[in-house]
């Protein structure tokens, strides 16, 4: 189980990073989503899925037996999924709005907030 999850996570991270490095706006956003899934799986893996020891503390002990399944990471993953999903939807709407206005989806050409310098850079005082 752990091995399968590990291989899945590596492949998902690779796919996410590949998409993230693209210069297309939506590929980048989908890349973030895929990477997010890989991260969620990583957190899920921390709960020792596949362990057959139930998360119950036996009488007379004060902690879980070693190797017991741990339900807490599943609660963490649920929270992370909700937050990540909301943020992704928001970003996709934002991306759609931007690409509609700009008429293209190339990240490199989105320079409205950082226009390339075209004015002379010398201080006016020093020009005389």
């Amino acid at each position: 189980m752990t091995l399968i999850l590990m291989i899945t996570i590596s492949l998902t991270v690779a796919a996410g990073v590949l998409l993230l490095l693209s210069r297309d706006l939506f590929r980048t956003l989908v890349g973030l989503a895929v990477l997010g899934s890989a991260v969620n799986l990583t957190v899920f893996l921390a709960g020792r899925p596949g362990s057959l020891t139930p998360p119950l503390i036996p009488p007379g002990l004060d902690r879980l037996p070693a190797g017991a399944a741990d339900p807490l990471p599943q609660a963490l993953v649920l929270t992370a999924i909700v937050i990540g999903f909301a943020l992704l939807c928001f970003a996709l709407v934002l991306g759609a709005w931007i690409s509609q206005r700009a008429g293209h989806t190339e990240v490199d050409r989105l320079r409205l907030s950082e226009p390339p310098a075209k004015d002379p850079l010398k201080p006016t005082i020093l020009k005389e």
């Binding site: 921390a46 943020l87 206005r101 409205l112 907030s113 005082i125």
Partner: protein, 491 residues
């Protein structure tokens, strides 16, 4: 209750301002009342905690490593107060410069949400809780960036989102891996577990991942591209709030995680952090030297100042931590003041680009005086607050034989002086290229220009007090950070 009040007040205010079908003035009144209450709660917390004390709440009455815990110590209580003071200044300035009937309905809820997230990060003592508050911080900032609805703001928000989201994902993965390796999320339990002989070696890589994510949020050297790409599209009061608090919150988390929680991190990591700090210092100040837009100059100076803060953490001693804490408080206030003053310069002279303005020294002498005081403080001219911050950091660097680090930190001060003199020469001394624009423009908001000036003057007085009478705060912070890196010294 005393501990949770500074967190709950802005959260409730954010909800109220969002759901009440309010008149814009009512929304502003509610928001102001919320900040004043927050200020009171922060003061009460500061008095209750004291410099070396500690208050803690475990939610839901669960026993400790399991419950979600909030902790206030001398450092976090002081920072909560600073955040509340900054919130008050920014709100008054915003009321004065932006007319109520044209205010976006989401502005006040988002400002309050940002304040709530900042306070919560200062008080959180649980790794996953910390991640959730960082998400709230990201959402609130994203909302503030998009409020104006202009195309360039949308692009800035997208760039900010893409990089911050990457940092957030890295942080979440690190939290999961740290939990998997140590079985703990609570800061106190992690501090114990991370020093256990079986756990510590495996944990180092995950701690590095976590700190890398925090460094991205702080805007450190290779990962700061989101900051100069997005900050300058905010309106001046929001720029002061976001620019004053956001990256500094990450520095606080960095200080707490490396100094208290994972204090057994190997020394070579601090060596690496020190060089990162140097690169951050130099790239930030050089980026600022290139720009002509007031807001972009100041945004790049944030990156440079982050370098000083990281230097104090890289020194990894209680003295370095105290220096970082002092510099943190000084920098939140001064940076926000400079952004607010940049807004007033823009209003008075008609443009944020230094090449198109001038003549303010004659036309607005009070503005010139306020700018000069804050600029000197940012540069670190004695006896300003920036001088004491740099003094503490450089003194500790020299005490540890880090002469290159200390020397570079001092040299970057000169380049900061260059940027500030550029603003002074171009904006204040040079005659205005189009004097007709200098005469007429005044703030358009409720309280008129007087309220905006009063807000900045109040905040500048705080900075002056820090500079002229720094010893109480230094003593306070030295007591608060005395336990950092306990039993661990740099090799």
């Amino acid at each position: 209750m005393l501990l949770l009040a500074p967190l709950l007040i802005p959260l409730v205010t954010a909800l109220l301002t969002a759901v009440l079908p309010a008149h814009p003035r009512l929304r502003r009144g509610l928001s102001l009342a919320g900040v004043l209450l927050l200020l009171g709660a922060a003061l009460a917390l500061l008095v209750a905690v004291g410099p070396a004390g500690r208050l803690s709440v475990a939610l839901g009455d669960w026993p400790l490593p399991f419950a979600i815990q909030f902790v206030a110590d001398g450092l976090s209580a002081a920072l909560v107060l600073v955040a509340a003071l900054l919130g008050l200044t920014v709100l008054l300035y915003q009321f004065a410069t932006e007319p109520a009937n044209r205010e976006a309905p989401g502005l006040q809820p988002l400002v309050q949400g940002l304040l709530a997230a900042v306070v919560a990060v200062f008080l959180a003592a649980d790794l996953f809780n910390l991640y959730v508050w960082f998400e709230l911080l990201l959402m609130a900032t994203l909302g503030l960036l998009l409020l104006g609805g202009r195309p360039w703001q949308a692009e800035a928000a997208l760039k900010y989102f893409a990089l911050s989201m990457l940092g957030t994902l890295l942080m979440l993965a690190a939290v999961g891996l740290i939990y998997g390796a140590s079985g703990q999320l609570n800061f106190g339990a992690l501090a114990v577990a991370s020093q256990a002989p079986g756990v510590a070696p495996g944990l180092t890589l995950f701690v590095v991942m976590l700190l890398l994510a925090v460094l991205l949020k702080a805007g450190a050297f290779p990962l700061f591209a989101w900051l100069p790409a997005s900050y300058h599209t905010l309106s001046p009061p929001l720029l002061a709030l976001v620019g004053g608090l956001l990256t500094k919150v990450a520095i606080y988390v960095m200080l707490r995680l490396s100094g208290q929680v994972f204090s057994a991190t190997p020394a070579f990591l601090y060596e690496a952090l020190g060089w990162l700090a140097m690169l951050t210092l130099v790239t930030g100040v050089l980026g600022a030297a290139y720009h002509w837009d007031l807001r972009r100059i100041l945004a790049f100076h944030i990156v440079s100042q982050i370098g000083y803060l990281l230097l104090g953490i890289a020194l990894a001693t209680p003295a370095g931590a105290a220096g970082t804490a002092f510099f943190l408080i000084h920098n939140i206030l001064v940076k926000a003041n400079l952004f607010l003053l940049a807004g007033l310069i823009w209003l008075s002279a008609g443009h944020p680009d230094l090449r198109r303005i001038g003549g303010l020294y004659l036309a607005r002498p009070w503005l010139a005086l306020l700018f000069l005081l804050n600029a000197f403080s940012l540069v670190g001219v004695p006896p300003s607050s920036g001088f004491w911050g740099k003094f503490l950091l450089v003194q500790e660097a020299f005490a540890q034989q880090r002469f290159l680090w200390g020397g570079l930190a001092l040299g970057v001060g000169l380049l900061t002086l260059y940027s500030m003199s550029k603003i002074w020469l171009e904006g204040f001394w040079k005659p205005h290229p189009d004097p007709t624009r200098l005469a007429g423009s005044q703030p358009q908001g409720d309280g008129g220009p007087r309220l905006a000036y009063a807000a900045v003057t109040f905040s500048t007085l705080l900075v002056l007090a820090l500079g002229l009478y720094p010893q109480p705060l230094i003593d306070w912070l030295q007591q608060a950070t005395a336990g950092y890196w306990a039993g661990f010294g740099p090799a």
